[in-house]
C-alpha cells in the first residue's frame, strides 16, 4: 500500500507571539510552563501583557519575579487567581494574597505535575500519598489502599497552555534543553489550545524522532521567540577551586 505525501502541508507555525495569543480572551484559564525563570515562555508572556486581557486564572509552578516573567502579568493586574507550588520569589504576590486581592491555591509540586499529566492523559483523578494529614488534604476524599492512606486529587485542565521548548518543527514536534523542560511537556498535553514558543524552528525530519519529547499532536501553534533574556535567578558562582 502506498502512502502519498499530503498536498496541503500541516503547518502550525505562526508569524509572531502577538499573532499566537491574539484570540485568548479575558477570564481564560492559562497554564504557563517554566520553573522559576527557567524555561518560561517569555515572548508569549510579553505578547499576552500587550493584550491587556484580565481576570485570568493562571496555573504555573511559580509566579516569576518582580519585573519579569509572570511578574509582568501580575503588575498589569491581569491575574484573578493562581494555582502553583511556590511563589516565594514574588513579593508583590505575597502582598496581594495577604490583602485578599488575589485568590492563590498552593499545591504540592508533584501533585501539580501529576494533576496536569492526568488531565492530558484522560485520567480524571488519582490517589496520592502527598499531603495526607496536612491542609492540602482538607475537604478531600481519602482512602486506605493496602498499608497506606491516600488523598484523592483531581486532574487539572486549562483553556490554553503557553509553553517554551528549545527546538521545534512545523508539525509541533518539540525538544527541550536541560532543566528548561520542567512543566512544559506535561502542560502541552493538558489544554484545549497549546501554543509553543521555540528558540529555533527546524525542518521536519531534522529532529531525531527518537529524541522528540513532545510529539506534535499536543501542539496547536508554534512560534519562534523574538528575543530571549533568560536571566539566572540565583547565580551561585564558583569562586575558584573545588566547590
Amino acid at each position: 500500500m502506498l502512502f502519498r505525501r499530503a498536498r496541503i502541508l500541516m503547518n502550525k507555525v505562526v508569524t509572531s507571539a502577538d499573532v499566537a495569543v491574539a484570540d485568548i480572551v479575558s477570564g481564560s484559564t492559562i497554564m504557563l510552563g517554566g520553573f522559576g525563570l527557567c524555561g518560561i515562555p517569555e515572548n508569549l508572556i510579553a505578547a499576552l501583557v500587550r493584550r491587556r486581557i484580565t481576570g485570568l486564572h493562571t496555573i504555573s509552578n511559580n509566579m516569576g519575579v518582580d519585573g519579569f516573567g509572570m511578574g509582568l502579568m501580575l503588575e498589569a493586574e491581569m491575574i484573578a487567581s493562581h494555582i502553583g507550588s511556590y511563589v516565594g520569589e514574588n513579593r508583590r504576590l505575597e502582598t496581594l494574597v495577604l490583602n485578599g486581592k488575589l485568590d492563590l491555591t498552593l499545591v504540592p509540586q508533584g501533585t501539580l505535575a501529576e494533576r496536569i499529566r492526568a488531565a492530558g492523559a484522560g485520567i480524571p483523578a488519582f490517589y496520592t500519598p502527598t499531603g495526607l494529614g496536612t491542609v492540602v488534604a482538607e475537604g478531600k476524599e481519602t482512602r486506605k489502599i493496602g498499608e497506606r492512606t491516600y488523598v484523592l486529587e483531581q486532574a487539572l485542565h486549562a483553556d490554553v497552555a503557553l509553553i517554551k521548548a528549545w527546538k521545534g518543527d512545523r508539525y509541533g514536534n518539540l525538544i527541550y534543553r536541560k532543566t528548561a523542560r520542567n512543566f512544559n511537556p506535561a502542560m502541552a498535553t493538558a489544554a484545549k489550545l497549546t501554543i509553543a514558543e521555540v528558540e529555533e524552528l527546524v525542518e521536519p525530519g531534522e529532529l531525531d524522532p527518537d529524541h522528540i519529547v513532545t510529539p506534535g499532536i499536543f501542539v496547536n501553534r508554534i512560534v519562534v521567540g523574538e528575543a530571549y533574556r533568560k536571566p539566572i535567578e540565583s547565580k551561585f558562582i564558583q569562586s575558584g577551586g573545588a566547590a
Binding site: F35, G84, Y86, V87, G110, T111, T130, T179, R181, I232
Partner: protein, 222 residues
C-alpha cells in the same frame, strides 16, 4: 567549623555508594560538598535533573541549567534531564534513597513543619510534601534551636504540617536523633555535649539510647 558545616559533614557520612539523594534548599544543599572521596552519590533536583554538579564558573553559568533553588549548577557525566511529572514519579514512587530537608519544627511523632507561617508568609510548599511522602529515608537537617533560643524539636508541631509521621532522622549541630515508634531516640551527641544539655535545649522528651556515642572527627570526614 560552624554548626551548619558540622550538620552537613555528618549527614554526608550517612551516604552509601550508589545512593540517589535529593537535597533541599539552604543548609541541605551544603552537604553535596562533603560526599566522602571515592563514593558515587547522584543528586536529584526536583525541577528535573539527576547528576547535579557543583556551581559553575561565571563563563559556564547556563540559564537553562539550574537546581530547585534556582541556582545555576553544572552537569556531571551520566546526568539526565526529565520533566516535572517524571521527576515526582521518581520521588513519590519511592526511588530516592534519601531526602534531606530543612525544618521549622519537628515533633515526637516524626511530623514535620517547614513551609508556612500563617498570616506572615506566603511562599508555598514546593516539592517538600512529595519528598517526605515518597523518599525511603527522610532526614531533617537544621540548627537545634531558633535564633531566639526556642526549641524546634517539639512535643507537637504548632505550625501547619508538611507531612505526618514522615521524618526518620533529625541532625543538628548538637546531636543525631532517630524517630522511633516509642519516641525520639538520642543516638549521637557532638563532642563536648552531653545528653542532659541536649534535653535542656529540646522541648520534646528524648529517650537516651543505651548505645549513645559521641561524634568524632571521622564522623565529620576529618
Amino acid at each position: 567549623m560552624t554548626g551548619k558545616e558540622r550538620i552537613a559533614r555528618r549527614i554526608a557520612r550517612e551516604f552509601k555508594d550508589g545512593f540517589y539523594v535529593n537535597l533541599g534548599i539552604g543548609l541541605p544543599t551544603m552537604i553535596a560538598a562533603y560526599v566522602p572521596a571515592g563514593m558515587d552519590v547522584m543528586f536529584q533536583s526536583e525541577n528535573g535533573m539527576l547528576g547535579v554538579g557543583p556551581p559553575p564558573t561565571e563563563e559556564e553559568a547556563d540559564p537553562d541549567l539550574i537546581n530547585a533553588g534556582k541556582q545555576a549548577v553544572t552537569e556531571l557525566p551520566g546526568c539526565s534531564f526529565f520533566g516535572s511529572e517524571e521527576s515526582f514519579a521518581m520521588i513519590r514512587g519511592g526511588h530516592m534513597d534519601m531526602s534531606v530537608l530543612g525544618a521549622m519544627q519537628v515533633d515526637e511523632h516524626g511530623n514535620l513543619a517547614n513551609w508556612t507561617i500563617p498570616g506572615k508568609m506566603v511562599k508555598g510548599m514546593g516539592g517538600a510534601m512529595d519528598l517526605v511522602a515518597g523518599a525511603r529515608r527522610v532526614v531533617v537537617a537544621m540548627e537545634h534551636q531558633t535564633k531566639d533560643g526556642a526549641s524546634r524539636i517539639l512535643k507537637a508541631c504548632t505550625l501547619p504540617l508538611t507531612g505526618t509521621s514522615v521524618v526518620h532522622d533529625i541532625v543538628t549541630e548538637l546531636c543525631w536523633i532517630r524517630v522511633t515508634p516509642e519516641g525520639l531516640l538520642l543516638i549521637e551527641v557532638a563532642e563536648g555535649v552531653d545528653a542532659a544539655e541536649v534535653q535542656a535545649r529540646t522541648e520534646a522528651r528524648l529517650i537516651v539510647s543505651p548505645a549513645l556515642r559521641t561524634m568524632t572527627a571521622a564522623d565529620y570526614g576529618l
